[in-house]
Amino acid sequence: MVEHAAKVRHDFLRHDMNFPHVWCPGCGLGIVLGSLIRATSSLNIPQDDLVLASGIGCTGRMSAYVDFNTLHTTHGRALTFATGIKLAKPNLTVMTVMGDGDATAIGGNHFIHAARRNLNITAIIVNNMIYGMTGGQYSPTTPYGSKATTAPYGHVEQAFSIAELAVAAGASYVARGTVHHVPQLDGLIKGGIQKKGFSVIEIMSNCHTYYGRQNGLSDPVEYQKYFKKNAVSVKKAAEMSAAEMEGKFSIGVLADIEQPAYVEEYQHIRDNACKEMAEKGEKKGGDCAQERRDEM
Protein backbone atom coordinates (compact mmCIF):
# COMPACT_ATOMS: atom_id res chain seq x y z
CA MET A 1 0.00 0.00 0.00
CA VAL A 2 2.75 2.45 0.99
CA GLU A 3 4.76 1.35 -2.00
CA HIS A 4 1.75 1.88 -4.23
CA ALA A 5 1.24 5.38 -2.83
CA ALA A 6 4.88 6.21 -3.50
CA LYS A 7 4.50 5.03 -7.09
CA VAL A 8 1.38 7.15 -7.61
CA ARG A 9 3.20 10.17 -6.25
CA HIS A 10 6.22 9.43 -8.40
CA ASP A 11 4.22 8.97 -11.55
CA PHE A 12 1.57 11.64 -11.16
CA LEU A 13 3.39 14.53 -9.54
CA ARG A 14 5.92 16.60 -11.45
CA HIS A 15 9.56 16.20 -10.53
CA ASP A 16 10.56 19.67 -11.58
CA MET A 17 11.10 22.67 -9.37
CA ASN A 18 7.48 22.84 -8.19
CA PHE A 19 7.79 21.63 -4.61
CA PRO A 20 7.41 22.61 -1.85
CA HIS A 21 3.97 23.79 -2.85
CA VAL A 22 2.60 27.28 -2.19
CA TRP A 23 -0.14 26.22 0.26
CA CYS A 24 -0.13 26.90 4.01
CA PRO A 25 0.78 24.03 6.33
CA GLY A 26 -2.43 22.10 7.08
CA CYS A 27 -4.30 23.40 4.03
CA GLY A 28 -6.96 21.09 2.63
CA LEU A 29 -5.68 21.58 -0.92
CA GLY A 30 -2.90 19.05 -0.36
CA ILE A 31 -5.53 16.45 0.55
CA VAL A 32 -7.53 17.33 -2.56
CA LEU A 33 -4.38 16.94 -4.67
CA GLY A 34 -3.83 13.50 -3.13
CA SER A 35 -7.39 12.45 -3.86
CA LEU A 36 -7.13 13.73 -7.42
CA ILE A 37 -4.01 11.73 -8.26
CA ARG A 38 -5.32 8.58 -6.56
CA ALA A 39 -8.59 8.84 -8.47
CA THR A 40 -6.96 9.46 -11.84
CA SER A 41 -4.26 6.82 -11.37
CA SER A 42 -6.90 4.22 -10.53
CA LEU A 43 -8.55 4.75 -13.92
CA ASN A 44 -5.52 3.75 -15.99
CA ILE A 45 -5.88 6.69 -18.35
CA PRO A 46 -2.55 7.56 -20.01
CA GLN A 47 -1.19 10.76 -18.51
CA ASP A 48 -0.77 12.15 -22.02
CA ASP A 49 -4.55 12.06 -22.33
CA LEU A 50 -5.26 13.81 -19.04
CA VAL A 51 -5.82 17.55 -18.99
CA LEU A 52 -6.17 19.65 -15.86
CA ALA A 53 -7.09 23.32 -16.22
CA SER A 54 -7.24 25.60 -13.23
CA GLY A 55 -8.18 29.19 -12.58
CA ILE A 56 -6.64 31.72 -10.24
CA GLY A 57 -6.25 31.57 -6.49
CA CYS A 58 -4.73 29.02 -4.12
CA THR A 59 -6.63 26.22 -5.85
CA GLY A 60 -5.48 27.50 -9.22
CA ARG A 61 -1.92 26.60 -8.39
CA MET A 62 -2.77 22.87 -8.25
CA SER A 63 -2.37 22.34 -11.98
CA ALA A 64 1.37 23.02 -11.88
CA TYR A 65 2.01 20.05 -9.59
CA VAL A 66 0.45 17.19 -11.54
CA ASP A 67 2.20 15.56 -14.45
CA PHE A 68 -0.68 15.87 -16.94
CA ASN A 69 -1.25 18.35 -19.72
CA THR A 70 -1.87 21.35 -17.49
CA LEU A 71 -3.14 24.88 -17.80
CA HIS A 72 -3.16 27.63 -15.24
CA THR A 73 -5.65 29.99 -16.85
CA THR A 74 -7.22 33.33 -15.94
CA HIS A 75 -9.49 33.98 -12.95
CA GLY A 76 -12.82 32.19 -13.31
CA ARG A 77 -12.22 31.04 -16.88
CA ALA A 78 -10.79 27.54 -16.50
CA LEU A 79 -13.99 25.99 -17.87
CA THR A 80 -13.85 28.10 -21.03
CA PHE A 81 -10.34 26.94 -21.88
CA ALA A 82 -11.32 23.38 -21.01
CA THR A 83 -14.30 23.71 -23.37
CA GLY A 84 -12.01 24.55 -26.27
CA ILE A 85 -9.63 21.71 -25.48
CA LYS A 86 -12.36 19.10 -25.08
CA LEU A 87 -14.12 20.09 -28.30
CA ALA A 88 -10.90 20.24 -30.30
CA LYS A 89 -9.70 16.89 -28.96
CA PRO A 90 -12.66 14.92 -27.58
CA ASN A 91 -10.50 11.86 -26.84
CA LEU A 92 -8.80 13.69 -23.97
CA THR A 93 -10.04 13.43 -20.38
CA VAL A 94 -10.51 17.05 -19.39
CA MET A 95 -10.79 18.22 -15.79
CA THR A 96 -10.82 21.60 -14.15
CA VAL A 97 -10.03 22.55 -10.59
CA MET A 98 -11.35 25.81 -9.24
CA GLY A 99 -11.96 27.59 -5.98
CA ASP A 100 -15.34 28.83 -4.74
CA GLY A 101 -14.74 32.44 -5.76
CA ASP A 102 -13.14 31.33 -9.00
CA ALA A 103 -15.99 29.01 -10.02
CA THR A 104 -19.07 30.76 -8.67
CA ALA A 105 -18.28 34.50 -8.53
CA ILE A 106 -16.12 35.62 -11.44
CA GLY A 107 -16.65 32.32 -13.27
CA GLY A 108 -20.25 31.73 -12.22
CA ASN A 109 -21.64 32.29 -15.68
CA HIS A 110 -19.23 29.81 -17.27
CA PHE A 111 -20.04 27.30 -14.55
CA ILE A 112 -23.81 27.25 -15.01
CA HIS A 113 -23.52 27.24 -18.80
CA ALA A 114 -21.02 24.39 -18.86
CA ALA A 115 -23.49 22.45 -16.72
CA ARG A 116 -26.42 23.39 -18.95
CA ARG A 117 -24.52 22.30 -22.07
CA ASN A 118 -23.57 19.09 -20.32
CA LEU A 119 -20.02 19.34 -21.59
CA ASN A 120 -17.92 16.26 -21.06
CA ILE A 121 -15.74 17.85 -18.38
CA THR A 122 -15.12 17.10 -14.70
CA ALA A 123 -15.21 20.23 -12.57
CA ILE A 124 -13.63 19.97 -9.14
CA ILE A 125 -14.55 22.91 -6.97
CA VAL A 126 -12.69 23.38 -3.74
CA ASN A 127 -14.94 25.36 -1.42
CA ASN A 128 -13.15 26.97 1.51
CA MET A 129 -15.76 29.70 1.86
CA ILE A 130 -13.27 32.55 1.42
CA TYR A 131 -10.78 34.18 -0.96
CA GLY A 132 -7.51 32.84 0.41
CA MET A 133 -4.76 34.07 -1.87
CA THR A 134 -5.91 37.68 -1.78
CA GLY A 135 -6.20 37.72 2.00
CA GLY A 136 -9.56 36.53 3.34
CA GLN A 137 -12.25 38.52 1.56
CA TYR A 138 -15.80 37.12 1.47
CA SER A 139 -16.80 34.84 -1.41
CA PRO A 140 -20.16 33.64 -2.76
CA THR A 141 -20.00 30.72 -0.31
CA THR A 142 -19.09 32.66 2.82
CA PRO A 143 -21.89 31.85 5.29
CA TYR A 144 -24.26 34.56 6.52
CA GLY A 145 -22.95 36.17 9.66
CA SER A 146 -19.31 35.11 9.11
CA LYS A 147 -16.45 37.52 9.26
CA ALA A 148 -14.11 38.29 6.41
CA THR A 149 -11.53 41.00 5.76
CA THR A 150 -14.17 42.74 3.64
CA ALA A 151 -16.96 41.85 6.08
CA PRO A 152 -15.50 43.10 9.35
CA TYR A 153 -18.97 43.59 10.86
CA GLY A 154 -20.30 40.24 9.72
CA HIS A 155 -21.46 39.02 6.33
CA VAL A 156 -25.03 39.87 5.27
CA GLU A 157 -25.28 37.93 2.00
CA GLN A 158 -26.61 34.42 1.62
CA ALA A 159 -24.22 31.72 0.43
CA PHE A 160 -24.49 29.64 -2.71
CA SER A 161 -24.77 25.88 -2.28
CA ILE A 162 -22.49 24.94 -5.13
CA ALA A 163 -23.59 21.33 -5.56
CA GLU A 164 -27.29 22.23 -5.52
CA LEU A 165 -26.59 25.00 -8.01
CA ALA A 166 -24.92 22.47 -10.33
CA VAL A 167 -27.89 20.11 -10.05
CA ALA A 168 -30.29 22.90 -10.97
CA ALA A 169 -28.09 23.97 -13.89
CA GLY A 170 -28.28 20.50 -15.41
CA ALA A 171 -25.02 18.71 -14.61
CA SER A 172 -25.07 14.93 -15.12
CA TYR A 173 -23.14 14.07 -11.99
CA VAL A 174 -22.96 16.14 -8.83
CA ALA A 175 -21.27 15.18 -5.60
CA ARG A 176 -20.07 16.86 -2.44
CA GLY A 177 -17.24 15.65 -0.26
CA THR A 178 -14.88 17.03 2.33
CA VAL A 179 -11.15 16.91 2.99
CA HIS A 180 -11.99 14.96 6.13
CA HIS A 181 -13.81 12.10 4.35
CA VAL A 182 -10.91 11.18 2.11
CA PRO A 183 -11.65 7.61 0.90
CA GLN A 184 -15.14 8.80 -0.04
CA LEU A 185 -13.63 11.81 -1.82
CA ASP A 186 -11.37 9.57 -3.91
CA GLY A 187 -14.45 7.70 -5.06
CA LEU A 188 -16.47 10.82 -5.79
CA ILE A 189 -13.74 12.25 -8.03
CA LYS A 190 -13.36 8.91 -9.75
CA GLY A 191 -17.12 8.74 -10.32
CA GLY A 192 -17.07 12.22 -11.79
CA ILE A 193 -14.29 11.46 -14.26
CA GLN A 194 -16.02 8.26 -15.37
CA LYS A 195 -19.31 10.04 -15.98
CA LYS A 196 -20.16 11.01 -19.53
CA GLY A 197 -21.27 14.63 -19.45
CA PHE A 198 -20.65 17.46 -17.03
CA SER A 199 -19.71 16.39 -13.52
CA VAL A 200 -19.17 18.54 -10.48
CA ILE A 201 -17.42 17.56 -7.28
CA GLU A 202 -17.70 20.22 -4.61
CA ILE A 203 -15.09 19.69 -1.92
CA MET A 204 -15.48 21.37 1.45
CA SER A 205 -11.97 22.34 2.45
CA ASN A 206 -10.32 24.32 5.18
CA CYS A 207 -8.72 27.72 4.95
CA HIS A 208 -7.83 27.97 8.62
CA THR A 209 -5.47 30.82 7.78
CA TYR A 210 -8.12 33.20 6.54
CA TYR A 211 -11.61 31.86 7.08
CA GLY A 212 -10.70 29.97 10.22
CA ARG A 213 -8.77 32.71 11.94
CA GLN A 214 -11.64 35.17 11.55
CA ASN A 215 -14.32 32.64 12.52
CA GLY A 216 -12.97 30.59 15.41
CA LEU A 217 -11.47 27.71 13.40
CA SER A 218 -7.82 28.74 13.20
CA ASP A 219 -6.55 25.25 13.98
CA PRO A 220 -6.63 22.86 10.99
CA VAL A 221 -7.34 19.87 13.24
CA GLU A 222 -10.32 21.67 14.79
CA TYR A 223 -11.42 22.46 11.25
CA GLN A 224 -11.33 18.77 10.34
CA LYS A 225 -13.52 18.06 13.35
CA TYR A 226 -15.92 20.73 12.14
CA PHE A 227 -16.30 18.85 8.84
CA LYS A 228 -16.73 15.56 10.65
CA LYS A 229 -19.43 17.02 12.87
CA ASN A 230 -21.42 18.90 10.24
CA ALA A 231 -21.29 16.61 7.21
CA VAL A 232 -24.39 14.45 6.81
CA SER A 233 -24.76 11.76 4.18
CA VAL A 234 -27.08 12.61 1.32
CA LYS A 235 -29.33 9.75 2.33
CA LYS A 236 -29.57 10.85 5.93
CA ALA A 237 -30.00 14.49 4.98
CA ALA A 238 -33.05 13.58 2.93
CA GLU A 239 -34.73 12.41 6.09
CA MET A 240 -33.83 15.46 8.13
CA SER A 241 -35.85 18.65 8.47
CA ALA A 242 -34.58 22.04 7.42
CA ALA A 243 -34.20 22.97 11.07
CA GLU A 244 -32.15 19.84 11.74
CA MET A 245 -29.92 20.62 8.74
CA GLU A 246 -29.21 24.16 9.98
CA GLY A 247 -25.41 24.69 9.80
CA LYS A 248 -24.89 21.25 8.29
CA PHE A 249 -24.34 20.08 4.74
CA SER A 250 -24.85 16.83 2.86
CA ILE A 251 -22.06 14.75 1.40
CA GLY A 252 -22.19 12.02 -1.22
CA VAL A 253 -23.67 11.86 -4.70
CA LEU A 254 -26.46 14.41 -5.17
CA ALA A 255 -27.20 13.65 -8.82
CA ASP A 256 -26.19 10.96 -11.26
CA ILE A 257 -28.34 11.01 -14.36
CA GLU A 258 -28.09 9.72 -17.89
CA GLN A 259 -28.62 12.42 -20.49
CA PRO A 260 -27.10 13.34 -23.85
CA ALA A 261 -23.67 14.89 -23.48
CA TYR A 262 -22.29 17.68 -25.63
CA VAL A 263 -19.51 15.88 -27.49
CA GLU A 264 -21.84 13.13 -28.67
CA GLU A 265 -24.56 15.66 -29.50
CA TYR A 266 -22.18 17.74 -31.57
CA GLN A 267 -21.11 14.66 -33.51
CA HIS A 268 -24.78 14.30 -34.50
CA ILE A 269 -24.67 17.88 -35.78
CA ARG A 270 -21.64 17.02 -37.91
CA ASP A 271 -23.33 13.92 -39.29
CA ASN A 272 -26.59 15.73 -40.02
CA ALA A 273 -24.81 18.69 -41.62
CA CYS A 274 -22.87 16.41 -43.95
CA LYS A 275 -26.04 14.51 -44.82
CA GLU A 276 -27.95 17.70 -45.57
CA MET A 277 -25.13 19.02 -47.74
CA ALA A 278 -25.02 15.75 -49.68
CA GLU A 279 -28.78 15.81 -50.20
CA LYS A 280 -28.65 19.34 -51.55
CA GLY A 281 -25.66 18.47 -53.71
CA GLU A 282 -23.70 21.28 -52.08
CA LYS A 283 -20.00 21.25 -51.60
CA LYS A 284 -18.79 20.82 -48.05
CA GLY A 285 -17.28 23.70 -46.21
CA GLY A 286 -15.52 26.51 -48.00
CA ASP A 287 -16.14 28.28 -51.27
CA CYS A 288 -19.92 28.55 -51.17
CA ALA A 289 -21.30 31.03 -48.74
CA GLN A 290 -24.58 31.63 -50.50
CA GLU A 291 -26.89 33.10 -47.93
CA ARG A 292 -30.59 32.99 -48.62
CA ARG A 293 -32.01 35.61 -46.39
CA ASP A 294 -33.91 38.81 -46.53
CA GLU A 295 -33.22 41.94 -44.50
CA MET A 296 -30.67 40.82 -41.99
Binding site: Q290, R292, D294, E295, M296
Partner: protein
Protein backbone atom coordinates in the same frame (compact mmCIF):
# COMPACT_ATOMS: atom_id res chain seq x y z
CA UNK B 1 -39.68 70.79 -72.66
CA UNK B 2 -36.03 70.81 -71.56
CA UNK B 3 -33.38 69.41 -73.82
CA UNK B 4 -31.91 66.28 -72.43
CA UNK B 5 -29.58 63.43 -73.21
CA UNK B 6 -31.26 60.23 -74.24
CA UNK B 7 -31.51 58.07 -71.14
CA UNK B 8 -30.52 54.94 -72.94
CA UNK B 9 -27.48 56.68 -74.38
CA UNK B 10 -26.60 57.93 -70.94
CA UNK B 11 -26.79 54.45 -69.49
CA UNK B 12 -24.55 53.01 -72.16
CA UNK B 13 -21.68 55.42 -71.82
CA UNK B 14 -21.43 55.35 -68.05
CA UNK B 15 -18.39 53.47 -66.75
CA UNK B 16 -19.73 53.50 -63.22
CA UNK B 17 -23.46 53.07 -62.68
CA UNK B 18 -24.90 53.79 -59.26
CA UNK B 19 -28.21 52.38 -58.05
CA UNK B 20 -30.26 52.68 -54.89
CA UNK B 21 -33.14 50.42 -53.85
CA UNK B 22 -35.28 51.48 -50.93
CA UNK B 23 -38.51 50.62 -49.19
CA UNK B 24 -39.71 49.54 -45.80
CA UNK B 25 -38.13 46.60 -44.01
CA UNK B 26 -39.85 43.44 -45.25
CA UNK B 27 -40.41 44.76 -48.78
CA UNK B 28 -37.34 42.86 -49.91
CA UNK B 29 -35.29 45.70 -51.34
CA UNK B 30 -32.03 44.24 -50.05
CA UNK B 31 -32.82 40.91 -51.66
CA UNK B 32 -33.63 42.69 -54.92
CA UNK B 33 -30.34 44.58 -54.78
CA UNK B 34 -28.37 41.42 -54.03
CA UNK B 35 -30.00 39.60 -56.94
CA UNK B 36 -29.33 42.53 -59.24
CA UNK B 37 -25.68 42.59 -58.16
CA UNK B 38 -25.38 38.86 -58.77
CA UNK B 39 -26.94 39.15 -62.19
CA UNK B 40 -24.45 41.87 -63.12
CA UNK B 41 -21.35 40.60 -61.35
CA UNK B 42 -21.62 36.83 -60.99
CA UNK B 43 -23.61 35.93 -64.10
CA UNK B 44 -22.47 39.04 -65.98
CA UNK B 45 -18.96 40.48 -66.24
CA UNK B 46 -19.22 43.74 -64.34
CA UNK B 47 -17.44 44.69 -61.17
CA UNK B 48 -20.16 45.12 -58.55
CA UNK B 49 -20.38 46.43 -55.03
CA UNK B 50 -23.53 46.06 -52.96
CA UNK B 51 -24.07 47.79 -49.64
CA UNK B 52 -27.05 48.33 -47.38
CA UNK B 53 -28.27 50.07 -44.29
CA UNK B 54 -31.19 49.32 -42.06
CA UNK B 55 -32.44 50.01 -38.60
CA UNK B 56 -32.54 47.54 -35.71
CA UNK B 57 -35.97 46.22 -36.72
CA UNK B 58 -36.28 43.28 -39.13
CA UNK B 59 -39.71 44.33 -40.31
CA UNK B 60 -40.92 47.89 -40.71
CA UNK B 61 -38.66 50.93 -40.69
CA UNK B 62 -36.85 52.05 -43.81
CA UNK B 63 -34.23 49.96 -45.49
CA UNK B 64 -31.86 50.96 -48.22
CA UNK B 65 -29.58 48.99 -50.48
CA UNK B 66 -27.12 50.24 -53.04
CA UNK B 67 -25.47 48.62 -56.02
CA UNK B 68 -22.50 50.03 -57.89
CA UNK B 69 -21.84 48.49 -61.29
CA UNK B 70 -18.66 49.27 -63.13
CA UNK B 71 -16.48 48.17 -66.01
CA UNK B 72 -13.46 48.91 -63.81
CA UNK B 73 -12.49 47.90 -60.30
CA UNK B 74 -14.68 49.80 -57.83
CA UNK B 75 -12.97 52.10 -55.37
CA UNK B 76 -15.65 53.90 -53.37
CA UNK B 77 -18.38 51.35 -52.61
CA UNK B 78 -21.32 53.68 -52.02
CA UNK B 79 -23.49 55.93 -54.14
CA UNK B 80 -22.14 59.37 -54.96
CA UNK B 81 -24.75 60.33 -57.60
CA UNK B 82 -27.63 57.97 -58.18
CA UNK B 83 -28.14 56.88 -61.76
CA UNK B 84 -31.04 54.67 -60.86
CA UNK B 85 -33.39 54.87 -57.91
CA UNK B 86 -36.07 52.38 -56.99
CA UNK B 87 -38.47 53.47 -54.25
CA UNK B 88 -41.05 51.00 -52.98
CA UNK B 89 -42.90 53.49 -50.76
CA UNK B 90 -43.33 57.20 -50.13
CA UNK B 91 -41.37 57.42 -46.88
CA UNK B 92 -38.31 55.76 -48.33
CA UNK B 93 -38.53 57.84 -51.49
CA UNK B 94 -38.56 61.04 -49.50
CA UNK B 95 -35.81 59.87 -47.17
CA UNK B 96 -33.33 58.68 -49.76
CA UNK B 97 -33.98 60.87 -52.80
CA UNK B 98 -30.99 63.16 -52.20
CA UNK B 99 -28.07 62.90 -54.64
CA UNK B 100 -30.21 61.70 -57.50
CA UNK B 101 -28.56 62.31 -60.86
CA UNK B 102 -30.79 64.55 -62.96
CA UNK B 103 -30.47 62.28 -65.96
CA UNK B 104 -31.05 59.20 -63.89
CA UNK B 105 -33.91 56.75 -63.76
CA UNK B 106 -36.46 57.13 -60.98
CA UNK B 107 -38.74 54.14 -60.62
CA UNK B 108 -41.42 54.01 -57.96
CA UNK B 109 -44.08 51.55 -56.86
CA UNK B 110 -47.29 53.42 -57.66
CA UNK B 111 -49.12 51.24 -55.13
CA UNK B 112 -47.44 53.11 -52.25
CA UNK B 113 -46.06 56.29 -53.82
CA UNK B 114 -48.49 59.10 -54.45
CA UNK B 115 -46.20 62.06 -54.85
CA UNK B 116 -43.18 61.89 -57.12
CA UNK B 117 -40.47 64.55 -56.97
CA UNK B 118 -40.10 64.84 -60.74
CA UNK B 119 -42.28 64.46 -63.77
CA UNK B 120 -39.65 62.11 -65.17
CA UNK B 121 -40.51 59.44 -62.65
CA UNK B 122 -41.63 56.04 -63.83
CA UNK B 123 -44.57 54.90 -61.71
CA UNK B 124 -45.40 51.21 -61.96
CA UNK B 125 -47.80 49.19 -59.79
CA UNK B 126 -45.34 46.56 -58.52
CA UNK B 127 -47.26 45.57 -55.40
CA UNK B 128 -50.62 45.47 -57.20
CA UNK B 129 -49.13 43.13 -59.79
CA UNK B 130 -47.69 41.00 -57.04
CA UNK B 131 -51.07 40.78 -55.35
CA UNK B 132 -52.57 39.66 -58.62
CA UNK B 133 -49.93 36.94 -58.76
CA UNK B 134 -51.12 35.82 -55.37
CA UNK B 135 -48.32 36.94 -53.05
CA UNK B 136 -47.59 40.54 -52.18
CA UNK B 137 -44.14 39.47 -51.00
CA UNK B 138 -42.85 39.14 -54.58
CA UNK B 139 -43.36 42.85 -55.32
CA UNK B 140 -39.60 43.25 -55.00
CA UNK B 141 -39.06 40.74 -57.79
CA UNK B 142 -41.62 42.44 -60.03
CA UNK B 143 -39.69 45.67 -59.44
CA UNK B 144 -36.44 43.84 -60.09
CA UNK B 145 -37.71 42.74 -63.50
CA UNK B 146 -38.68 46.31 -64.39
CA UNK B 147 -35.50 47.90 -63.13
CA UNK B 148 -33.40 45.23 -64.79
CA UNK B 149 -35.06 45.88 -68.11
CA UNK B 150 -34.98 49.67 -67.86
CA UNK B 151 -31.44 50.05 -66.55
CA UNK B 152 -29.97 48.14 -69.46
CA UNK B 153 -27.21 46.84 -67.18
CA UNK B 154 -28.16 43.19 -67.06
CA UNK B 155 -29.46 40.69 -69.57
CA UNK B 156 -32.88 39.24 -68.76
CA UNK B 157 -31.30 35.80 -68.96
CA UNK B 158 -28.74 36.63 -66.25
CA UNK B 159 -31.40 38.24 -64.12
CA UNK B 160 -33.45 35.06 -64.28
CA UNK B 161 -30.40 32.95 -63.40
CA UNK B 162 -29.72 35.18 -60.41
CA UNK B 163 -33.31 34.88 -59.19
CA UNK B 164 -33.16 31.10 -59.45
CA UNK B 165 -29.86 31.00 -57.54
CA UNK B 166 -31.20 33.06 -54.63
CA UNK B 167 -34.79 32.01 -54.20
CA UNK B 168 -35.75 28.84 -52.34
CA UNK B 169 -36.86 26.12 -54.74
CA UNK B 170 -40.51 25.96 -53.70
CA UNK B 171 -40.98 29.67 -54.51
CA UNK B 172 -39.02 29.56 -57.75
CA UNK B 173 -41.96 29.42 -60.13
CA UNK B 174 -43.77 32.31 -58.45
CA UNK B 175 -40.65 34.46 -58.46
CA UNK B 176 -39.89 33.82 -62.12
CA UNK B 177 -43.47 34.72 -62.95
CA UNK B 178 -43.08 37.92 -60.93
CA UNK B 179 -39.82 38.76 -62.67
CA UNK B 180 -41.39 38.42 -66.10
CA UNK B 181 -44.44 40.43 -65.06
CA UNK B 182 -42.05 43.22 -64.13
CA UNK B 183 -40.18 42.98 -67.41
CA UNK B 184 -43.45 43.15 -69.37
CA UNK B 185 -44.50 46.16 -67.33
CA UNK B 186 -41.27 47.94 -68.20
CA UNK B 187 -41.55 47.19 -71.89
CA UNK B 188 -44.43 49.67 -72.08
CA UNK B 189 -42.20 52.46 -70.84
CA UNK B 190 -40.22 54.47 -73.36
CA UNK B 191 -37.28 55.75 -71.36
CA UNK B 192 -36.24 58.25 -74.00
CA UNK B 193 -39.63 59.92 -73.95
CA UNK B 194 -39.57 60.65 -70.27
CA UNK B 195 -39.20 64.21 -69.20
CA UNK B 196 -35.96 65.04 -67.57
CA UNK B 197 -35.66 65.84 -63.88
CA UNK B 198 -34.44 69.41 -63.88
CA UNK B 199 -31.35 70.57 -62.03
CA UNK B 200 -31.13 73.98 -60.39
CA UNK B 201 -29.02 75.00 -63.35
CA UNK B 202 -31.85 74.16 -65.73
CA UNK B 203 -34.22 76.41 -63.86
CA UNK B 204 -32.14 79.22 -62.40
CA UNK B 205 -29.10 79.22 -64.65
CA UNK B 206 -26.59 78.37 -61.98
CA UNK B 207 -25.30 75.04 -60.70
CA UNK B 208 -26.34 73.54 -57.41
Amino acid sequence: MLKRKSKSEYVMKKERYEMRFCGSGGQGVITAAVIFAEAAGVFGDYYVCQTQSYGPQSRGGSSKAEVIISTKEIDYPKVVKMDCFLAMNQTALDAFFSNFETDGLLIVDSTFVEQVPTSGAISLPFTEIARELGKEIVANIVALGAIGYLSGKVSMENLEKAVIARVPEKFRELNIEALHAGIELAKNVNVDNLSHSPSLDDIYGHTD
